[in-house]
């Protein structure tokens, strides 16, 4: 049996932190793939229910707003951009700037949740209740499930705010921020899909 084959892991073996970082990244990617598959199943459900429905939305249902959801989409995008800038500043070594930008990302994410909750309340009071049927069910569930992931992401960002600058090695500092960012951007990407499916089309 031959013994060639790129041994990149061996090279990084000489730099243990890089090895650990790479391993954590693989783990996070796999976890995100898993979560994506769950959302994929839910989007599949949305598609099937919509195709099989006589009319979508069903008659008599209050119209979904577009202004506030667009605003919160922009907020999410802004939050992700802020986070990437934060990571860049951390790589350059300016922890104070990192903290400012990370806090901005957290605040924008929190605003997202708040405004999203507002949309729910407005729609519920306008008559979009679960008694309507699957249209209401999938709307509330997709957005709620996503919001739960936003909350988890906010918790991760708070952890990152505190723990990333405190990591013992620069590699690990960058890694903590990168892993957190991966999750946050994932949550943002899922939102873009939900926004398109539920509000736009």
């Amino acid at each position: 049996m031959t013994t060639t084959a790129a041994q990149t892991s061996f090279t990084s073996a000489l730099h243990p932190e890089r090895q650990v970082r790479a391993t954590n990244h693989v783990g996070m990617i796999l976890a995100l793939v898993s979560f994506s598959m769950m959302f994929a199943g839910l989007f599949y459900s949305y598609g099937l229910l919509r195709i099989r429905a006589m009319a979508w939305p069903p008659p008599g249902v209050p119209e979904a707003p577009i202004v506030v959801p667009t605003i919160i989409t922009v907020l999410m995008l802004g939050s992700s951009i802020s986070l990437e800038l934060a990571r860049k500043r951390l790589r350059e070594g300016s922890v104070a700037a990192f903290h400012r930008l990370a806090m901005a990302a957290i605040i924008l994410g929190t605003l997202f949740i708040g405004l999203q909750a507002g949309v729910w309340v407005e729609l519920w009071e306008a008559g979009l209740t679960l008694a309507i049927g699957p249209y209401a069910s999938i709307f509330y569930f997709l957005t709620t499930f996503h919001a739960l992931h936003v909350l988890a992401g906010l918790a991760i960002l708070v952890w990152m705010y505190v723990a990333a600058p405190r990591a013992p090695h620069p590699e690990l500092r960058e890694s903590r921020a990168h892993l957190s960012a991966m999750f946050w951007h994932f949550v943002g990407a899922v939102w873009l899909i939900i926004f398109s499916l539920v509000y736009v089309f």
Partner: protein, 614 residues
């Protein structure tokens, strides 16, 4: 404890021996301990699931008659008689328990954990804490299952397939069904945690020289299973979550017909989500078994695994295709004909890589020097049942024949042969094979062979009997199958089948005795490599130290180097360990090559302990 010299050793911490009871047995982080936790847990649920199967078989052999002795304990509310309500819960929980709480923890939780790090030359999994959490999450799910039996209205009763609307509130009211679905969600989470861990470990922590074409087939089986788990368990989680929402919050994802409100959901949606998971799940439950079989037939024929790469490609092809064949469970739901026919074509095609894999096993044992050891007997038994059962999948894959065979005992016999029996036999083979690695002694050979024969004969008798009944048209899941003019005459074959089932159950006593006697009895430790095989786990001491390898090994060859004439001549034995060279020299570290860079002489590491600048 040896001082690690190899630069590779800096990567993986050398565990210290645990001192407290909690650190040793409860919250361990050591993959070998977690493996044992899963194995014990799985065996206990296997007993429960098996008991439920025996009750079902009793009811079919003696419909409406009180179950002797055990009836008073389990069905005391009806005088020991199994009622229709009991019966629906029995077959539901039998299926769910066997899949998620018996086979999965034993074959994947236990043997994935035990074999992966040891066979690839790692000290532990990539994420030991996640590993511990995975076990305790599974344990929590097991508690939920047990709790579901104790609530009013009883446990889940809508079949393991849990189709709504029967699994909704109107069809199966009460906490039992909900708890079980929640338990499935929870165990699914544990499985995903484990899957992420296994995949990362195989990708990142292989010892130097352990290239992808030198990994044992056991590890390939676990790796591919983990990928399928990570991809498809979440879809089940989604589908199950929507069901719980329907049950608890009045959503209408699956509500239709008279129960629907202003607009209806779609019960078939659940079937899609369920089977997108469900079909890969059957491969999840067989890939590790294929891995064990592939390795054992090589080890015990003293011969390389025939066309190793072909086997790997076949297992990979089956895994990839597993998601696109799921519709064959839904042929009779009124799906669009073109869709149905596509599923039929793909399902027929997926049989080809499976056939190829099977042929490779047959070629391996042919012209070998077969040692009929206990693990080999179990592997041969698994090949037999998998071959028989797999063949019967063909008329089920085909739509027109499935119009007759769907929902008959033919289906039940088919999947119990291919999935349950093959996984059962392969997993027990694995237990006997790796028992010395886990517990330091060998299991008793005679008891093991009795266990094998009772199990093999019993399994074949039961499931071939079921296929005969199914061919004659007996539908599945019937409390009293003999209500119809076309099934009344099948009481006899059902009774015979039940006797085989009781025979199977009786034979498990040999395993139980063997298991307890050798774990808890005073026994001499056996030699380090009793099976004389070359995979890495046999290169370390008995008992295995907590850190596995004092020095991370450097791998020199594949896992199936048996009867190499050069090896027989130079090493004086018919097997080459993956850590051994033929000329007796020290294995060399492979050249470090950085992807994307040109290889410069000055980049070669000559001094192993000094990190090179990059």
């Amino acid at each position: 404890m040896a001082v690690p010299e190899n630069a590779y050793d800096q990567l993986q911490a050398v565990h210290h021996e645990p001192t407290t009871f909690i650190a040793k047995y409860i919250w361990s982080g050591d993959h070998k301990v977690i493996a044992k936790q899963f194995l014990w847990g799985g065996l206990i649920f296997l007993l429960l699931g098996g008991l439920q199967a025996m009750f079902i078989r009793w009811q079919w052999a003696y419909p409406g008659q009180p179950v002797p002795v055990l009836g008073q304990i389990f069905f005391s509310d009806s005088g020991g008689i199994i009622t229709p309500g009991h019966y629906t819960s029995l077959f539901t929980s039998h299926g769910l328990i066997m899949i998620f709480w018996a086979i999965t923890p034993m074959m994947i939780g236990a043997f994935g954990n035990l074999t992966i790090p040891l066979m690839i030359g790692a000290r532990d999994m990539a994420f030991p804490l996640l590993n511990t959490l995975s076990f305790w999450t599974w344990f929590l799910s097991g508690l939920m299952v047990l709790a579901s039996f104790m609530v009013p209205y009883g446990t889940a009763a809508a079949g393991w397939t849990t189709y709504p609307p029967l699994s909704g509130n109107a069809g199966t009211p009460g906490w039992g069904q909900s708890l079980f679905v929640l338990a499935i969600f929870t165990t699914g989470t544990a499985t995903i945690m484990g899957g992420v861990n296994y995949i990362t470990t195989v990708i990142r922590l292989r010892a130097p020289g352990m290239t992808w074409d030198r990994i044992p087939l056991t590890v390939w089986g676990q790796f591919l299973t983990a990928i399928l788990n990570v991809l498809f368990v979440p879809v089940l989680a989604g589908g199950g979550l929507l069901l719980l929402l329907d049950r608890w919050f009045g959503t209408s994802f699956y509500v239709a017909g008279a129960l629907a409100g202003e607009s209806a959901g779609d019960p078939i949606l659940f079937q899609h989500l369920f089977w997108i998971f469900g079909h890969p799940e059957v491969y999840i439950l067989i890939l590790p078994a294929w891995g064990f079989i592939g390795d054992f037939v090589s080890f015990f024929s003293r011969k390389p695994a025939y066309w190793y790469k072909g086997s790997v490609w076949a297992m990979t092809a089956v895994s990839i295709m597993s998601a696109v064949v799921y519709g064959h469970h839904m042929y009779t739901t009124g799906m669009a004909p073109l869709l149905g026919k596509s599923f039929m074509l793909l399902t027929l095609i997926i049989s080809v890589p499976a056939e190829l894999l099977f042929l490779n096993w047959l070629h391996t044992i042919y012209h070998g020097s077969m040692r009929k050891t206990v693990p080999m007997m179990f592997a041969l038994g698994a090949i037999f049942v998998f071959g028989s059962g797999g063949l019967t999948g063909l008329p089920l894959a085909t739509i027109s024949t499935d119009l007759y065979l769907h929902a008959t005992m033919f289906v039940v016999g088919h999947f119990h042969l291919t999935m349950a029996s093959a996984a059962f036999l392969a997993t027990f083979g694995a237990i006997y094979f790796w028992f010395p690695k886990m517990f330091g002694t060998m299991m008793n050979d005679r008891l093991a062979r009795l266990h094998f024969w009772f199990s093999f004969i019993g399994l074949n008798g039961v499931f071939i009997g079921q296929m005969i009944a199914g061919y004659a048209g007996q539908p599945r899941r019937l409390y009293d199958p003999f209500q119809y003019a076309f099934t009344e005459q099948l009481l006899g074959i059902n009774q015979i089948t039940s006797y085989f089932a009781f025979f199977l159950a009786a034979g498990q006593i040999f395993f139980v005795i063997n298991w307890f006697a050798n774990i808890f009895g005073k026994r001499e430790p056996c030699e380090q490599n009793p099976w004389k095989v070359g995979t890495l786990e046999w290169s370390v001491g008995n008992p295995t130290p907590v850190y596995n390898f004092a020095k991370i090994p450097i791998v020199t060859c594949g896992p199936h180097e048996y009867s190499n004439p050069e090896c027989i001549e130079k090493l004086g034995k018919d097997w080459q360990g993956q850590w051994e060279t033929l000329d007796g020299s020290e294995p060399k570290l492979p050249d470090p090559v950085v992807v994307g860079h040109h290889h410069h002489e000055e980049d070669d590491v000559t001094d192993e302990t000094a990190p090179a600048e990059e």
